[in-house]
Amino acid sequence: MSDHKRHLGLPFSEILRMAWVSVCAHKLRSALTMLGIAIGVFSVIGAMTVISALQASIEEQLNVLGSTSFQISKYPAIHSHGPINPYANRRNIVIGQAQRVKELLADTGATISLNVNRWGRQVFYEDKKTNPNNNLVGTDEAFITGRSYNIGLGRNLTPDDVEYGRAVCVIGADTRGRLIPVGDPIGAIVRVDGQGYRVVGILERKGELFGQSQDNLVIIPITRFLQVYGRENRSIGINVQARTQAEMGGAMDRAYGAMRVVRGLQPEDANDFEIFSNDTLVNAFAKIANVVGAGAFVISLIALLAAGVGIMNIMLVSVTERTKEIGIRKSLGAQRRAILRQFLIEAMVIAQCGGLIGIAMGVGGGNLVAKAMNAGAVFPVGWTIVGFVFCSAIGVGFGFYPAWKAARLDPIEALRFE
């Protein structure tokens, strides 16, 4: 430490104080330079805050499944409904296969629930009817936990309902709002495709996913569903809920094995089914978000670069103006490193002050934009650190040439400078 002091002449705190004094000596100039850096950092942090906020809000919406559950199905969770459907030629997962998988996975202790859907159903109650956009689900009592729904009113389906194929149903909040907005809905008979089902429960509202309601559904026992619509031409989805998050990975591996056995796939065959969990969905989405984020980061960095040029320019002016001071310091024995350090720190102080202002502006502005786009507020810690490191780096990088120039000044010439 004492060694350091001898070499650099001044203690660090003193250099910092000197830097601050010279920053304050030219208030307007320093303020404008800082403003440049602040806007550069604002550009980076603002863009990244907006993207992080949108990403967070979409990921939050993506809780299609329960936190410990995954789904086995014929189609992947996200696939385009274009005219070309490469998955359509896959064999359906028939009820027999689904039951086999259930048996094979029994020893994992996971709760396994089968489900089968009919989309675009119209639900009737007395003289009211819904739009034909309801999802009729045939399943069992484990469905609501597997899909992270909650019972708001009444009761869930019971194993008995499934066992005896009772004509009972649990309906979503939107379906209820449309059919039975007032009064007690429990016990009401709603009709789907001409079949009556007694309402035993109402689900709590789950909210929208990509603008699509998740609350317009009617859940009936799967036994009843197959009785009404038959077993042919439909693919059964299998929902597996591991006991804990830790067991989920293992259960998923087992599920791949079980499905391959049941489907009779040879070792060289590709999987002709999909297994996905919330994480799969989030990851698939994160891939897109990362590409967009990288692009936005690079473009927004341009402003910071321009600010760096501004720092360099003003530091050069500062060095020229203080040539005499440098000459005096050098003739009194200050080493090159000390001068270099002094100007570098001055550049850093300006860059970091500007950076802090920029981070504040960026987080604030970014969240305002995100709010206008209906996304929740975030504080992107990672990007804040990246932004701060970058603006410090810009301070050092662009401050180096002026500082080096100052350090190399010949004391005699410098003292004589007018």
């Binding site: 307007l28 330079t33 070309i84 603008g211 473009i299 341009i302 402003a303 321009a306 040029v309 501004g310």
Partner: protein, 416 residues
């Protein structure tokens, strides 16, 4: 006036002198502007490129066609309101054409029925999957833009008779008959053998997502035979007079309502689409990109402007004594203001020119490296770039210049 001109000339002279005297400083200040201008103009070039890509892609199908369909060509949330519309029947085309024959004054030229489906096309061991298959009549070439590379389009007799003849898109022909002429040979679609009568010229792709060349065209009658279940894709393509587009649209709506027997109080049970519907679908994405892009790159330019302001302030401060002398010798405020403003603008204009040359070169490099990317560098972008660089100079140089012009000569002369 003469005096103003003289002051202006003098300002330019002084500015040139100053820029030369402080080479490093001026260069760095200009660099700030250059970065901003390059960012903004490249963004403009990219957005222009997207526009051109969309237009080029759409131009292939002709911009004078109206499409009568059951479903609108936009994103709809309330699909249940359209589901029960009756299907579009292909014989409407005949009825529209009859009407047009009786009323030659209306701006509708020709209606052609079309139906579409995705199928696989085979030739021996070769197969092309998911080919866009269009069933239409012999009138189709009259409203289309594409030309035949080889052979011919099917004729009226083949069309009416529902013969098994097919016109292949360029890519399909290339994949099924590599290095060979397909005309006169047969391909298999579903379980039917089709004789190839022609190959269409290469038409390119729609933004790289959908190739117009991966298609085959067969007579509508054969199409109906093969795909028995009527598809949802049935449509009537109506060629109109571009100069009277609105009128044509109204007229077509009237004809369609009459054909469909829609009573006056009922809403339309069909949709009339144009290419603009596709453009409109893309518009929110494009506008969002453009807005975000220009805001972010605009910030870079803004930072450059701050740099200019800063350095002009420094320059004013350094030359306080000179300003004092000039004022003492009778220079007006205006002259001082002009002097500093011209200096700031000059740096910006130099920066702007260099920036435009740089981004022009970059755009050209991108166009050269990746010819498939539509890059544009139109004249308006150059003018726009120059205009904003001058504006940047004026805006950022104004405050320091006013400061300079307001200096008290006595104080200024005494300044150390």
């Amino acid at each position: 006036m003469k005096r103003l001109l003289f002051e202006f000339n003098e300002s330019i002279r002084i500015a040139a002198q100053q820029i030369r005297a402080n080479r490093m400083r001026s260069a760095l200040t200009a660099l700030g502007v250059i970065i901003g201008i390059v960012a903004v103009t490249l963004m403009g070039s990219a957005i222009g490129g997207i526009d051109r890509g969309v237009n080029d892609s759409l131009a292939v199908v002709g911009d004078d066609i109206l499409y009568v369909t059951k479903w609108p060509w936009r994103d709809i949330q309330d699909w249940w309101n359209y589901r029960n519309r009756p299907k579009i029947r292909t014989d409407y085309a005949e009825q529209i054409n009859d009407y047009v024959r009786e009323h030659p004054e209306i701006p509708i030229k020709l209606a052609v029925p079309a139906d579409e489906m995705m199928t696989n096309v085979y030739r021996g061991d070769y197969a092309v999957n998911a080919v866009y298959t269009l069933g239409t009549t012999a009138d189709f070439p009259k409203i289309g833009r594409g030309d035949m590379l080889e052979g011919r389009f099917f004729n009226e007799t083949e069309s009416r008779g529902g013969r098994n003849v097919v016109v292949l898109g360029f890519d399909v022909a290339d994949a099924l008959f590599p290095g060979d002429s397909p005309v006169g040979k047969t391909v298999r679609i579903r379980d039917q053998q089709f004789t190839v009568v022609g190959v269409a010229t290469k038409q390119g792709s729609f933004l790289g997502m959908f190739s117009w060349d991966t298609m085959v065209i067969i007579p509508l009658q054969s199409f109906r035979k093969m795909f028995m279940r009527a598809t949802e894709g049935a449509q009537i393509r109506v060629q109109i007079d571009r100069s009277r587009a609105d009128e044509a649209r109204m007229e077509l709506r009237g004809i369609m309502r009459r054909i469909r027997g829609v009573s006056p109080e009922m809403p339309d049970n069909f949709e009339i689409n144009t290419q603009d519907s596709i453009k409109k679908q893309l518009d929110p994405v494009r506008n969002g990109l453009a807005l975000a892009g220009f805001v972010i790159t605009g910030l870079a330019l803004f930072v450059g402007a701050i740099g200019i302001m800063n350095i002009t302030y420094v320059s004013v401060k350094e030359r306080t004594r000179e300003i004092g002398t000039r004022k003492a010798l009778g220079a007006r405020r205006r002259a001082i203001l002009l002097q500093f403003l011209v200096e700031a603008v000059a740096i910006c204009v130099v920066g702007g020119v260099v920036g435009l040359v740089l981004s022009g070169a970059l755009a050209a490099t991108v166009a050269w490296l990746a010819p498939s990317l539509p890059v544009v560098f139109p004249l308006w972008l150059i003018l726009f770039g120059m205009a904003i660089s001058v504006a940047t100079g004026v805006v950022s140089g104004f405050a320091p210049a006013v400061n300079a012009s307001r200096l008290d000569p006595v104080e200024a002369l005494r300044y150390e």
